[in-house]
């Protein structure tokens, strides 16, 4: 299990990395490498060159203004978990990252890397979609911003173009009546989930005023249950109905650790769990 032969290039700046990537379409970006290097070791991928962006300073900042938190793509999961802005304004992200692999992997794996890789069973792609984050990309023509919900096209497929690099993730700061809840079911702490949910909820006069349910590890990409969310906002939350609503809306896909029927069951249980939290 050794990686195939490739070239290595340490990019000095974002522009430098973009230039290299647009000249060599077989080259791939190396950030933390905690998904890429296993894939190379298992020979699932054989790029011509790895463009290492992990030492580019501009990609390693977390900043905040009045409305948004900006996380640079090469910030590691451990750094995000210890950041003051995140602790104060987006603490749910720390709970989410606690479920991303293990400490030794979080010390190296990056925020942008996980989002750009787009593993359907990973937590962060579903989180950015649920949090209504924006993905900031840089390419030969400059900066482009895309809504996270439009970013994922399919299995490991994203909207990143050949000349583009994911540079930053822009999270809206939550309103006072807004909360993001998260839960997942796993075999071993840190493993990919068998099924998971992220719910973005707004409460008004003790009622759910706005809701966005996003599931992961259930299909080929993070799945937004738009109709289910709308029905729950309109008619209130009815335990006995949740399974039917989700079943009518989403296509569940079996994977190695659970089949589609089981994933539907787990998604129902998880939805009940997070919505129950809102009742208390």
């Amino acid at each position: 299990m050794k990686s195939p032969d490739f070239c290595y290039y340490e990019a000095l700046s974002i522009e430098d990395a973009i230039k290299f990537k647009s000249n060599d379409l077989e080259a791939v970006i190396l950030a933390g490498g905690q998904s890429l290097i296993p894939a190379l070791n298992m020979r699932l991928s054989s790029p011509s060159c790895l463009i290492d962006i992990s030492k580019i300073k501009e990609l390693k900042n977390i900043t905040k203004d009045n409305n948004f938190i900006y996380i640079g793509s090469a910030v590691t999961h451990s750094e995000v978990m210890q950041n003051k802005f995140i602790i104060d304004h987006l603490p749910v992200l720390i709970d989410v990252l606690n479920m991303v692999a293990h400490p030794a992997i979080r010390n190296k794996g990056t925020h942008g890397g996980s989002i750009a890789y787009g593993d359907p069973a990973a937590e962060l792609p579903a989180f950015v979609v649920a949090a209504n984050a924006e993905i900031i990309l840089m390419g030969l023509n400059g900066i482009r911003t895309i809504q996270a919900s439009d970013f994922y096209h399919g299995l490991f497929e994203t909207d990143i173009q050949d000349d583009e690099i994911l540079t930053c993730i822009k999270y809206p700061i939550l309103k006072n009546n807004q909360e993001i809840l998260f839960d997942e079911i796993y075999r071993r702490h840190g493993d990919y989930a068998m099924a998971g949910v992220v719910a973005n909820i707004e409460i008004l006069n003790n009622k759910i005023d706005n809701l966005k349910l996003v599931f992961f590890a259930t299909g080929t990409k993070p799945e937004v249950a738009l109709k289910t969310s709308e029905l729950i906002i309109k008619d209130g939350y009815d335990y006995s109905n949740v399974k039917n609503m989700i079943k009518n809306e989403l296509d569940f896909e079996s994977d190695l650790n659970s089949n589609a029927e089981m994933k539907l069951h787990l998604a129902t249980i998880l939805t009940n769990k997070v919505l129950k939290l809102m009742e208390t």
């Binding site: 290299f20 060599d24 296993p38 992990s54 293990h102 010390n107």
Partner: protein, 163 residues
């Protein structure tokens, strides 16, 4: 030429300086360490799941199978061979006392992970210890005694007995 298949780098391993070392860029750090005789770092799964190859890179525990040798330019690395300060000597004694190893394959990774747990200086219950070491497999399934040892090490460290 842009991008290369070999790279010449400098780094420090277990307090020893290495200058102008040329490595193939595709070689992972675990293989490199073993190639220079530091065979205490064990290679298990080579996909980041088992934790046997865990080493310390710039003060943080990482998987040496998921880092390329080409990425360690300018870094400070510690392997199990370098755990020779008073704290880690005493931790090793605690591991022995509790029989927290059978075949020893996972032990180097377990010790590096324990070092990172102790760095946090936080008291953890047994369940939290299990979560912290969830990334380290022991296929002798000696987890009970490993948790016993880490529990004692945390307590002793907080009490200041490991200085």
């Amino acid at each position: 030429m842009l991008g290369s298949k070999k790279i010449t780098i400098n780094f420090i391993i277990n307090d020893e300086k290495f200058n102008d070392i040329t490595v193939p860029v595709r070689q992972h750090l675990g293989d490199f360490l073993r190639s220079i005789g530091l065979t205490g770092t064990h290679i298990g799964c080579e996909q980041g799941a088992c934790g046997a190859c865990t080493v310390e890179l710039d003060g943080k525990a990482v998987r040496s199978c998921l880092i390329l040798s080409s990425q360690i330019n300018g870094s400070v690395i510690k392997t199990v061979e370098g755990l020779d300060d008073t704290l880690m000597k005493k931790v090793k004694e605690i591991f022995l006392k509790h029989n927290a190893l059978q075949c020893g394959f996972c032990s180097s990774g377990m010790l590096i992970t324990t070092k990172e747990i102790l760095n946090k200086k936080k008291k953890l219950n047994r369940e939290q210890i299990r979560t912290e070491i969830s990334g380290n497999y022991c296929r002798c399934t000696g987890y009970q005694s490993i948790v016993d040892a880490i529990e004692e090490a945390i307590e002793d460290n907080i009490q200041g007995y490991l200085k």
